[in-house]
């Protein structure tokens, strides 16, 4: 028989003013398993807690019920109290006699009856309370950063600066990401490459950072502190160790048909290539799909010209498995594909280009040597129309959100155009100008006043292709006039969208994404870089569109979180989590499929001597104790510690027999 002590608190007159405490105590004494029951004016006070401790010791109690305020208030207090007396802290139940009785019922007799019932309820439950032990897990003191754009670079550098090993995985042949494609950055007009390249080099030189380019995450198992990740290192066909980065192979490669992804498709590249001259690592890859050797079995020019003998056509994809304690997701964004906009020519008018294409043209290292030229005839444009919100704030295109950076990058590009060709004209069609950032509004003002960029508030209804120019028809809603502009070129400020494969990765990691496909943070305000999966953090545009300063700030925030996690000796885990009885599990995977945290693993287990069955197993560090698995288990093989069916059934019986 259990030896339960019941302690009823008066809470001054808060409880005792309505509930006849002495009656509750008297009734409690008659309950099965109750050895002692008493009341006290303030149970949470030092003398109150000492009363509990002394009674536990004197009466050799093994369980305690406190009738007091809400468990949300003092459950922890009393857990610590009984722990001090040598009891397991989870052998405690609270009967909520204040918030759920004395404060909400005025009629004394029925309130007392209810209080008696609630104490009975707590006594019934505590009888089934098992002693629970805190769970500890080891932590693998290494971090994985997925994505090698500015977000991933910053996160990797900061984590390494905290003293932890980092692996940075990038799917492209070089790190650098979108930022490496940009020319200048708003509003300071720093040259993008000039501020980014040192960071890229710092990554390559940091002894704590392992850089895996041309690699992708294939599978993620495990849980916070103990992730096991399979990474596919795609075949480069060039030896990382032998290559000296001289570039002869690229120069001599006869294939040059492939559009350059780095140059936003306005130029071509070879089959063996480094995306851009400052690439890190500066080691080319062979794109199998455009290589003549892989298509026809003939050519091998690169192999012949390579002075280091680095070309190796026999290389194969290699999958490596590594363990990490934390993961930072920094997969960045894609640009909206404007071919769905009929009014802008379905992407088929050559002189209607995207902001990123203009960016590559303005860049002195770009294919046009820094000169803005019309794609159709290579002429310098005189009048350029910029259209904002293409694939942003457009419900009809399924993109209701603001991409946050287009107002600013359009202004920057208009400024650059005006600087480059002082005789040119820049006209911007906008919906609203969103320039909420340090120095942003001032920048917009400067672009309009100093650089004479004309801003028209309205949308463009149609772009007509004329003989040697474009006719842009739109509306200026401020004057109410229809406008027609004879333009040489149109630049679309295409919005940001999540990476095409973002959902795939989300499923691998069990993290959520919103209706627009951006990963969801744990809390929109108070946990903006955490995810619902402990140990997985978000940085940069994969979470929502943001500019470089915000991205960098967020990346450093993830590094702080990763540092806080990895600096712990071991992980302490709340013991009120699910547990499987393998004998009862049928292995139907209902729990495995439903668990919101991916905390269930199916594992071949010897359930009896000689009988091996594939049954569910709870990953203790991942389980958060929601109980979704318990409700879904037909076999009742899984139960939630601290909230077991046994405990709840006792309570149900007590109440129902009223």
């Amino acid at each position: 028989m259990s030896k339960t002590g019941v302690f009823i608190c008066h809470c001054g007159s808060n409880i005792a003013g309505v509930v006849a405490v002495e009656k509750v105590v008297e009734s409690a004494k008659t309950l099965p398993g109750v050895k002692v029951a008493m009341d006290y004016k303030y149970m949470c006070s030092d003398p109150g807690q000492n009363l509990i401790i002394n009674t536990i010791k004197e009466q050799a109690l093994d369980r305690v019920v406190v009738g007091s305020c809400s468990p949300r208030m003092h459950e922890n207090t009393f857990r610590m109290t009984i722990e001090r007396a040598g009891l397991n802290p989870y052998r405690l139940e609270i009967a909520n006699l204040r918030e759920h009785v004395s404060w909400v019922h005025s009629e004394k007799a029925s309130a007392t009856d209810k209080a008696i019932k609630l104490v009975e309820l707590a006594v019934a439950k505590v009888r089934r309370n098992e002693p629970l032990q805190k769970i500890y897990a080891e932590i693998e003191k290494r971090a994985l950063v997925i994505g090698g754009g500015i977000a991933g670079i910053q996160a990797a550098l900061d984590i390494a600066a905290n003293g932890y090993k980092v692996t940075l995985v990038e799917r492209e042949p070089s790190i650098g990401g979108r930022m490496s494609q940009l020319d200048k950055t708003f509003p300071t007009m720093d040259c993008s490459a000039c501020i980014l390249t040192p960071k890229m080099v710092a990554v390559a030189q940091n002894k704590d950072i392992t850089l895996l380019t041309y690699a992708e995450v294939e599978q993620v198992h495990g849980y916070v502190g103990n992730f096991e990740v399979n990474i596919n290192k795609k075949a480069r066909f060039v030896s990382m160790t032998k290559c000296i980065g001289c570039g002869v192979c690229t120069e001599k490669c006869p294939s040059k048909k492939r559009l350059s992804e780095f140059n936003a498709n306005i130029a071509t590249r070879k089959a063996i290539y480094t995306p851009f001259p400052q690439a890190v690592p500066n080691i080319p890859v062979i794109d199998k799909d455009s290589c003549m050797y892989f298509a026809t079995g003939k050519c091998k020019v690169c192999e012949k010209v390579c002075p280091a003998g680095a070309v190796d056509y026999t290389q194969e994809d290699e999958i490596i498995t590594e363990k990490f304690g934390a993961i930072v997701v920094a997969t960045g964004y894609d640009l909206y594909d404007h071919s769905s906009y009929g009014e802008y020519g379905y992407g088929e008018i050559p002189d209607v280009i995207t902001g990123l294409q203009l960016e590559r043209m303005i860049n002195s290292g770009g294919p046009t040597g820094g000169h803005i030229k019309r794609p159709s005839d290579g002429k310098e444009p005189e009048t350029v129309v910029f259209i904002q919100c293409v694939g942003s704030r457009d419900d009809a295109k399924g993109k209701p959100y603001c991409s946050r950076v287009c107002c600013m990058y359009t202004a920057k590009q208009a400024l650059l155009l005006r600087e480059h060709y002082p005789n040119s004209k820049a006209i911007v069609f906008y919906m609203d100008i969103r320039a909420a950032g340090k120095g942003y509004e001032e920048f917009i003002q400067r672009v309009q006043t100093e650089y004479g960029v004309l801003y028209l508030r309205g949308r463009v209804s149609r772009i007509y292709e004329k003989k040697d120019h474009l006719l842009v028809k739109g509306v200026d809603t401020l004057s109410g006039n229809q406008v027609e502009i004879k333009a040489d070129m149109v630049v679309l400020a295409t919005g940001l969208k999540p990476k095409k494969e973002a959902q795939n990765l989300a499923q691998l990691l069990h993290i959520g994404y919103d209706q627009n496909g951006f990963y969801t943070e744990l809390h929109p305000k108070l946990a903006p870089v955490e995810t619902q999966i402990a140990g997985v953090y978000l940085a940069g545009c994969c979470q929502s569109p943001k500019d470089i300063p915000d991205t960098v700030a967020q990346s450093s925030a993830t590094a702080a979180k990763v540092g806080a996690l990895l600096s712990k000796e071991r992980l302490e885990i709340e013991p009120m989590i699910s547990e499987v009885n393998p004998l009862l599990c049928s292995g139907c995977r209902m729990c495995y499929n439903a668990c919101p945290y991916g905390a269930i693993e199916m594992e071949d287990t010897e359930i009896r001597r000689g009988e091996i069955r594939c049954v569910a197993k709870v990953l203790v560090s991942v389980c958060k104790g929601c109980g979704v698995c318990v409700a879904g288990c037909y076999c009742k093989a899984i139960d939630l510690k601290g909230w077991t069916d046994r405990q709840l059934m006792e309570q149900i019986k007590v109440i129902s027999y009223c």
Binding site: G587, M590, C635
Partner: protein, 270 residues
Amino acid sequence: MSKTLQETARNLLAENKVEVIIGYAQGYDAFHTRPVFISNVEDVSKLIINEYCTNNLSVYLPIHKKLKVGIVTAKEQDLASIHELINEHQILEENVIIIEAAKQISSLSSELGEAQRDRGIDEEDGRQEAWKKRGYDMAVEEFEKLSAKERETFWDKEFERCIRCYACRQVCPVCYCPDCFVNRTMPKYLNEAVDMNKNKLFSLVRMLHVFGRCMDCRACNNACPVGIPLRLLTKKIAKDALELFGYVSGQGQEHPFSTFEKDELLEEIR
């Protein structure tokens, strides 16, 4: 028909493609069949197939998980049950060879009334009339139109007869739990006493457990010795699965209870 079946079975056994064949043999008279497990070629002549093959033999598959099994299916639902068991990882697809007799007998059985075929009831014995009178052949929609009180009275009368023999559970292919919740003692969900409320609770919880997994094979309905129309319940859950979640069991969709949509059932709970 049985000859072809026997031939198929003989070949499977002779070629060592299977270790055991689960099929039907004649029962205590010509109108009843019983399950048979054949592992010797000489015994294949016991195999029969006819319109009285009403049991869902897939219920025997999980216990033969480690063997190569050939199984005779007499109706579409039995076939679906096998696929469901594969989906639920209770049997291995590569270990099961299905001998599909369903199509062959469907023409035969359609000549008999459905309810009749369900239980193998003879036209003459008059039970069919009673059957109809009790409302057993009622459609779910019709039943739903009754008042709450009428529905309660209907089921009270039915479950009063229940002797909790658990035959419905024993014959159900998806009731394969190592230890059914009703057998548990810690906690005790149900005690052994047979009373109407407990009987009802058992069947209701069983319905919730087979929700989305029941293939409407009618095995439980047929097995019930006191004739509780369990099929009315299985049809009800199938209807709800479709109406609420667009879910049809056995089609490879994710089970409704292990997934969700954020923008669904908005009016359900406020």
